[in-house]
Symmetry: C2
Subunit: 325 residues, 2 copies
C-alpha cells in the first residue's frame, strides 16, 4: 500500500509512522508549508491514499491539489468539516477528523500509537465512492483508530456542542466573575468554579483558529444556549433531570460487536448512505468490508456494529429496501 | 463567653464544638426543627452570641426569635444574605456565611476544625453596632475561620457569579450536548466537557433550594451572561484576555498582615462602614480590635490587613476623614 502525507506535523507524522510500521506501507511525506519533503520509496502521484494534514486555512487548496495530482483516495484531518466537504465535489474525497493530538503540536511529538483507540470521524456524502469509503475505513482501523461515520454538518454541530461551547462558556464565566469581583481574587468557594473554567483562555492562537473555522455551527450552539438561559427552570427537578442526562452521556460503550452482511446494488453513494444512516442513529461501525459480486452489478458489505445496536441497525437497513443477514 | 446555637446540624454542631473546645465557651444547642435541645451550662437568654444555623427558609423567623429572646449578638450562617439582612432591622444582627461544609450534612459529621482557614462572610449594615461587629469578628477568628466583611448584596452577587452560575452553565452544557447527540454517548473529545460539567445535576434538593434562595442575584448574573453571549469576540485575543483574567482570579493571597489603628467617633455604623469600605475594595481584615477611649466619645479600632494593601487601606480610611496610624 502507498500512503502520501501532505503536511508533516504531529498528526501527519504520526499517520506516516503508524502506516509504515503497522501496515508496512510505502509512505511519502511532503510538507507544503515548511517547503521540504521527506520522500521514502514512492512518489506522491502513485499514492493509494493521500492524507492532507496541513493547517486548517490551507486544507481546501491542498485537497484540490492532491485530487488533481493523484488518482488515489484523498482525506484530510481538519477539526471542522461542513464547509470543506461542501466545497470539494469528488467521489474520491472523504473528510476526516481524528480526535487525537489536538493541543500538542510538532512532528517531534509524532508517534506510532497516537491514534490507538481514538475516534476518527469520516464524513462521506451521497457522492462518495463506496469502495473509497471502505478502503479508508480499513486503513484507519489498521493504524489503531476507531472510525466513526457521520454527516459533515452533524460533525460540526457535535464538536461545537461538546468541545467548542465548553470553552466559550468557561471564558464567559471567567469574564463574569472577574467583573463582579472587580480585581479581587476568587473567594474559596469550592472546586466548582475552578473545574468549570479549567479550559478558559486555553491556547489563544489555536482556539482563535478553531472558533473561526467552526463559526457557523458554534454560533448556532451559542444561540441555543441563549434560548435555554432565557427559559430556565431553576429547581431541584431540573437538577435531577440533568444528573440523569449527564450519566447517559458519560456511559461506557459496550464492547462486543457483531457482523451484519448487507447486499447492495453497485450504485454510487449506497455504502456511504448506509454508513451515514447508522451514524446518524448513533450506531458505530467498528469495522467494514466490501466484496463485489462476480457480475459487478452488486456486492456485499460487512458491517461490524455493537451487539446492543444489532436489531436497530438491521431495522434501519431493511427500511432502505436492502437485504440484510 | 456564652454561645447559643440554634439549629444543630453540621454547621451549628461544628460551631458548638469549636466554641467549647477552643474558647472554653459555655454552649447551648437548641434545634427548633428536630424539637430537641442539648442544653449545656447556660440558657438561651443569657447568650453573648446566638448563631442561627437552621434551614434557609426558617432563618428570618429564628433570627427574630433570637433577637427578641436574648440581648446578645445574633448572626446566621445562610448562604444568601440580601433579603434576610434587608428584613431584619436591628443593630445586634449581623448576617454571616461560612464557606464550609455546604455539601455534606448532618450533625454526625460536625467537627471542631470544620472552619479552619475557611472564609466566613459577615454582612453588617450602616445600622450595625461596631462593638457587635468587632466581637463577632473575633469570635469567628477564634474558632479558626477567616472573617471577610462584605455588603449583603455584593455577597449574593459574588456567590451567584462564582458558585451558582457555574452550576447553571454546567447544566445547560449537558442539556445542549444531550440534545445535539440525541441519545448517543459522548464522543471522546478530551477532558474539557467532563471538567466543565463536573457539577452538573449536583444534589438536586440542595441546589433547588440554593437557586430559589438566591433567585434575584442569580437571575441578574444569567442576564449578564446572555448579554455577553450576544456580543462575543470569538478570537485569539479574547482567549488571551481570559487567560490573564483567570490567572488573576486564581492568584494566591499574600500571607503577611499589618495593623492599622484608626480613631473613630462613638457613632453607630462607623466601624461597620469602615469594614465594608475595605471589603468593597477587596481588602480583607484578618483581625479586628476595638478599644473605647476613657471619655467613651471615641475609640480606636485596630485592623489587620495584608501588607500589600496597606497603603490603599490607609488612603481609603483617610478619605473618610478618620485619623489612621
Amino acid at each position: 500500500m502507498r500512503i502520501a502525507v501532505l503536511g508533516v506535523g504531529l498528526i501527519g507524522g504520526s499517520v506516516a509512522l503508524a502506516a509504515r510500521r503497522r501496515l508496512g506501507a510505502h509512505v511519502s511525506g511532503v510538507d507544503p508549508v515548511l517547503d521540504h519533503s521527506v520522500v521514502d520509496g514512492v512518489g506522491f502521484a502513485d499514492a493509494d491514499i493521500v492524507v492532507v494534514a496541513t493547517p486548517v486555512d490551507t486544507l481546501e487548496q491542498e485537497v484540490r491539489r492532491a485530487l488533481s495530482e493523484t488518482r488515489g483516495i484523498v482525506t484530510d484531518v481538519g477539526s471542522v468539516k461542513r464547509a470543506l466537504v461542501a466545497a470539494i465535489d469528488d467521489e474520491r474525497f472523504i473528510g476526516g477528523h481524528p480526535l487525537a493530538g489536538a493541543e500538542t503540536g510538532g512532528v517531534e511529538h509524532a508517534r506510532e500509537d497516537l491514534f490507538d483507540d481514538a475516534t476518527w470521524y469520516l464524513t462521506p456524502t451521497a457522492k462518495t465512492s463506496g469502495v473509497a469509503l471502505e478502503k479508508l475505513h480499513r486503513f484507519i482501523t489498521a493504524i489503531g483508530a476507531r472510525p466513526a461515520v457521520i454527516d459533515a454538518a452533524d460533525h460540526d454541530r457535535v464538536m461545537a456542542a461538546v468541545s467548542h461551547l465548553p470553552h466559550v462558556l468557561a471564558n464567559v464565566l471567567v469574564e463574569q466573575a472577574s467583573q463582579v469581583l472587580g480585581g479581587e481574587i476568587l473567594p474559596p468557594v469550592g472546586p466548582s468554579f475552578r473545574d468549570a473554567t479549567r479550559v478558559a483562555g486555553a491556547s489563544p492562537e489555536l482556539w482563535g483558529q478553531i472558533y473561526a473555522a467552526n463559526a457557523e455551527a458554534l454560533g448556532e450552539q451559542i444561540d441555543a444556549v441563549i434560548a435555554r438561559l432565557q427559559h430556565l427552570r431553576l429547581d431541584g427537578a431540573w437538577q435531577a433531570d440533568v444528573a440523569a442526562m449527564r450519566a447517559r452521556l458519560l456511559a461506557e460503550a459496550t464492547g462486543a460487536t457483531q457482523e451484519l452482511r448487507v447486499s447492495v446494488p453497485n450504485q454510487p453513494g449506497v455504502v456511504a448512505d448506509l454508513a451515514l444512516t447508522l451514524g446518524r442513529a448513533g450506531i458505530n461501525i467498528s469495522d467494514m468490508s466490501l466484496a463485489p459480486s462476480p457480475d459487478a452489478a452488486s456486492g456485499v458489505v460487512g458491517l461490524w456494529v455493537p451487539e446492543s445496536d444489532l436489531d436497530r441497525a438491521r431495522e434501519l437497513i431493511a427500511q432502505k429496501g436492502l437485504a440484510v443477514s
